[in-house]
Symmetry: C2
């Protein structure tokens, strides 16, 4: 069920170091992220049509007296990650991870000093990196995401997540998550929904931290992947990560990934870009009630403002379709009283 021969992170291409989006971050405090239980539902959501659309749908499918009641086992909700649960500016955070890894591994690869696209990374040469194109980006990913065991890669991700900081906010990346979406995850789970991530990002890049940050366990994370192979070593069996793309969980890949991993159609789907459109269409095409929501990045002060022209998380066709079909569109600036957990 996995599509081949597509470059991983293809949608990062050409956008990596362009930094075209307006950048800005809200006030910062020392509070830690609050992903736990909230005392009232959706407190960071402004009262209004958007919040009402959410709570009305949940009531509609969970009230046993409702004609649209959905049994708990079928309450599947899928969430995109980049730009939907956590931020994706100035570039996808996983690309920053790959760049950090190239720099960390460079001492063992003296040839990188003169070989593209590695030289571009080591020289912080955005123009040369952009010129390397899709093929160059794929080389970066394979050089940094493959060639080790799955256990080793998990530790590398854990170490990076614990130490790396967002270039603008100076915060750990796991604090660059959207407080209203954390509340939404909790709210849905409190009403019997099973919450899944369905992201174009690497599945093994997300799994080490999604349970702690989002309350989503590894088995409920779907993402892009490279191949692995079982190898019997003296110390026992290991899974080795191979420099070969297995699956790209983006655009038309999202329904494929949902079907492969989950095996039933979501009744609610949440995204923020054209890469999520097929997931929302797939969700809306179910026989029963469904809920489709786009997060629209409209807040250039507290977060970033971008949509139709953005190289990261472009929302163009999806915005048209959401408007035409009456899907819920979050106006981040007006619908969210708080964006990040660390805000006052």
């Amino acid at each position: 069920m996995r599509r081949e021969h597509q470059p991983l992170f293809a949608i990062m291409v050409m956008t990596a170091f362009l930094g075209t989006a307006a950048v800005g971050c809200g006030p910062q405090s020392e509070e830690s992220p609050a992903s736990g239980v909230v005392s009232e539902p959706l407190p960071s959501w402004s009262e209004g049509a958007t919040k009402q659309a959410i709570t009305r749908f949940v009531t509609r499918v969970t009230d046993p007296a409702s004609p649209d009641f959905v049994p708990e086992a079928e309450r599947i909700a899928t969430f995109d990650n980049d730009g939907t649960l956590w931020a994706e500016q100035p570039v996808y955070f996983q690309l920053l991870f790959a760049i950090d890894r190239v720099k960390a591994l460079a001492p063992g690869h003296p040839e990188w000093a003169t070989t593209q696209p590695f030289k571009a990374v080591l020289d912080d040469d955005r123009e040369a990196l952009a010129a390397a194109g899709e093929h160059g980006l794929l080389e970066l990913v394979m050089a940094t995401h493959a060639g080790m065991t799955t256990t080793e890669f998990e530790q590398i991700v854990r170490d990076w997540i614990a130490s790396a900081r967002h270039p603008k906010s100076g915060r750990p990346f796991t604090e660059m998550v959207y407080q209203p979406m954390l509340e939404l995850l909790d709210y849905l789970r409190a009403h019997g929904f099973k919450t899944f991530i369905v992201s174009g990002g690497g599945i093994e890049f997300m799994r080490p931290w999604t349970e702690e940050v989002y309350g989503i366990p590894p088995e409920q994370v779907v993402g892009s992947s490279i191949k692995t192979e079982l190898e019997m070593r003296d110390e026992g069996p290991v899974l080795v990560r191979l420099p070969e793309v297995a699956f790209v969980d983006d655009k038309e890949g999202k329904p494929v990934g949902i079907h492969s991993h989950i095996g039933r159609r979501p009744i609610a789907a949440f995204g923020n870009s054209d890469g999520d459109l097929q997931m929302l269409q797939w969700t809306a095409a179910g026989d029963g009630p469904s809920f489709c929501l786009y997060v629209h990045h409209t807040d250039g002060d507290r977060e970033w403002a971008y949509d139709r022209e953005s190289h990261v998380g472009r929302l163009d066709k999806g915005l048209d379709e959401a408007q035409a079909r009456g899907w819920t569109i979050v106006d981040m600036k007006n619908d969210w009283q708080r964006v990040f957990p660390f805000e006052d």
Copy 2:
């Protein structure tokens, strides 16, 4: 993360119609399968070392005072299906499904009357089918499992499961499940385990009925798969099943499938053949406590007796390793007071 270019159901090859195993079925009654809650744990298991090994392990990892306590989120248990949860004689049930499908589809394929391996199926010619080898079997699978939407295939499986009968017992295949294993699934879930199927069988062949029969929802089923592709039709998006193998979830594929779908290592694994050995090795290689169990088919009266020489579900290397490492081996004849739910 999916391995390519391996024939689906490769282990069915040459075994399809050989029927070498001793065949026998126990007494039958009109009782329906009991997959629900049981009043005392494991009532169909004989008192003794095997049952004790199970209950002691569960106590060891679930008692908060135990030094080997495992948090609930990490209590992952994986089960093979064919020969572990339901029977697999005289041949894998999915092969009987494929044969029935060839016969059902034959009127639309007049060329099959003169083309192998289809002619062999239509003529009930076991010798010719065996001669068709791996390639022929793959042709059968692709002709019967691909070329329709996922929704259509699900309905085909549902219809077959509801109407087909086991050639020896005359029972629906969903009654050819092992009562002690149903109780084990319930017992583990009652102690906070999350139960998964990890089978060489087709993932879409299992998902339509595993929740009702085993209490295992579609998202906790891992299996072999063919590729699917999103197609936009006038009536909306559909996933079309392509005649191309995506992943073979057998032998060294099982740890790969576990890692891809579940993303953490099981602490308990249950199988019955050499095809499960790598799953058990992978489970045993974890840092913490682990439990590995082989079902050994030793009861030629109530079920079938087969192991090292069998073409279906061969247990040879696995039996040696289980004995050497002290894994739990179920002696079906002595450890199970009841085999099938329909027995008195």
